[in-house]
């Protein structure tokens, strides 16, 4: 069973619908016990880091996630979920889970594209991901594929070994992170058409081992 962690942070049914389309059963849950029993875990989220961490701690899902990570269960972070796995976030000055070293930063106000036009924040829409090396979760995905993003903050991993994918929006930023059995994507695979579905499908079959 795939557990989709529910901490009141957004529309989780879209992730569940995408998994159902792929023929995968999943359960939306806020029970720490169920998360620890699950075969694999999806950790989504839309909203603010401060509230999300507060809710995770209230439901004891913070320790459940850290435990599940330690036990080698495959975990996929999505959007805010990806930011929450870092040490801390600039958003509401929040201390996060610390599964990956580094800080979550806000896009600077004065971003501009090469032509000089000012870029809008949030970064919203379709953008490419430059995948740095082979990884089972990106297996069979065309490098030209684009993914759907909606965010104002992005993770800044301290160790480049955690950087799996990079995206350009005025500046290059880490759009995919990994650390052993964890992969975390800043975009929404459940809203990214076929490449997104392929990523979810790959995740569902992943043994959690990084063969790099």
């Amino acid at each position: 069973m795939i557990a989709i962690i529910d901490y009141k942070a957004g529309n989780l049914t879209s992730v569940q619908r995408a998994l159902a389309f792929l023929g995968r059963d999943s359960a939306i849950t806020s029970s720490a016990a169920e998360v620890l029993e699950a075969e694999r875990i999806i950790f989504p989220g839309v909203g603010a880091a401060g509230t999300a961490m507060f809710d995770l701690m209230r439901l004891k899902l913070d320790t459940a996630l850290v435990d599940a990570y330690g036990r080698g269960k495959p975990i996929l972070g999505i959007c805010l979920g990806t930011q929450i796995v870092m040490d801390r976030s600039e958003e509401n000055q929040t201390r996060c889970l610390g599964l990956i070293k580094g800080e979550v930063l806000r896009f600077p106000e004065n971003l501009s594209e090469p032509g000089g036009r000012k870029l809008k924040v949030p970064h919203m829409g379709w953008n490419r991901v430059k995948v740095m090396r082979k990884h089972p979760v990106f297996d069979g995905i065309d490098p030209q594929s684009e993914f759907y993003f909606v965010h104002s903050y992005f993770p800044g991993p301290r160790d480049t070994r955690n950087l799996l994918g990079e995206t350009l929006y005025g500046i290059p930023f880490a759009s995919v992170l990994t650390s052993s059995n964890l992969v975390a994507v800043q975009f929404h695979p459940e809203k990214s058409g076929r490449p997104g579905l392929r990523l979810l499908s790959n995740f569902c079959m992943w043994d959690g081992k990084d063969h790099a």
Binding site: K118, G125, N127, D142
Partner: protein, 259 residues
């Protein structure tokens, strides 16, 4: 960098597309779910559904349509038309839409934008604007006035001021429709689009007037739009999304070419 988005717009009444949409094979498709699936496969970046169901009591039909669409397509889509309360928004979003679009209800009650943004996040709230060109005046300094009821009623609101106010209240995106250009197929209202798109820091979807591929090119370059709403240009088989995107790609505009 972000791709410019191509967004087909589908008008739905009582769970059916209002115009039977004809393709090159001359097949009429009246089912919004099939149509959404078709555009998803064709490479649309997003979809907009506009519910013109007259009766408020029959809105549950639209919710059912949204649910079925969400089970079949995995790109963002928004739903507009008849959304008057936070509860209306909640039903549409829970059924699987990524965004809701509010138009005249936001003019009547600007607080609805703030309430929606607080409940679901700004990214879920699109402000629909119907705009008509007027003589610039003290009341309407931009020379563009907000209209409602399909353009029949002038509101006395300046379009530029309203766009900025909506952004301040928490709208995450603007769908900007020129009533003057709408239905003409003579091109988008470029001046209006550029005015609004360069004055707010949220994405602007240009709407109204697309009849040729060049019009879409122009609204991205001259109009500075972030996305283009299209209807008849693809609904009646004049062009496919792929043709539109290939044209834009060749002209150096970044669009999503792989799907």
């Amino acid at each position: 960098m972000l791709s410019k988005r191509i967004i087909p717009c589908l008008d739905v009444r009582d769970g059916k597309l209002t115009k039977g949409i004809k393709f090159k094979g001359n097949v009429d498709i009246g089912d919004p779910v099939q149509m959404a699936a078709f555009y998803y496969d064709e490479g649309a970046d997003e979809l907009v559904f506009y519910d013109i169901t007259a009766s408020y009591e029959r809105r549950d039909i639209m919710i059912e349509t949204v649910r079925k669409v969400a089970e079949r397509i995995f790109i963002p889509f928004s739903v507009g038309g008849g959304i008057r309360t936070v509860e209306d928004m909640r039903l549409v979003l829970l059924a699987g839409a990524e965004k809701v679009s509010i138009n005249s209800s936001a003019i009547r009650d600007p607080g609805l934008i703030a309430k929606g943004a607080a409940a679901f996040g700004s990214q879920a709230i699109v402000l629909g604007m119907d705009v008509k060109k007027v003589s610039p005046s003290q009341r309407i300094p931009s020379g563009y006035e907000m209209v409602i009821d399909g353009g029949r009623t002038f509101t006395g609101l300046d379009a530029l001021a309203w766009a900025k106010e909506a952004e301040r209240l928490g709208a995450g995106e603007i769908c900007l429709n020129s009533i003057d250009a709408d239905g003409t197929q003579k091109g988008y209202e470029l001046h209006l689009t550029e005015l609004i798109a360069t004055s707010v820091n949220i994405p602007v979807i240009a709407s109204g007037g697309a009849g040729a591929i060049e019009h879409i090119h122009d609204v991205f370059t001259e109009g500075k739009a972030d996305a283009a709403l299209i209807a008849s240009i693809t609904h009646y088989g004049t062009h496919t999304i792929k043709e539109i995107k290939s044209f834009l790609h060749e002209k150096g505009i970044k669009v999503r070419m792989t799907w």
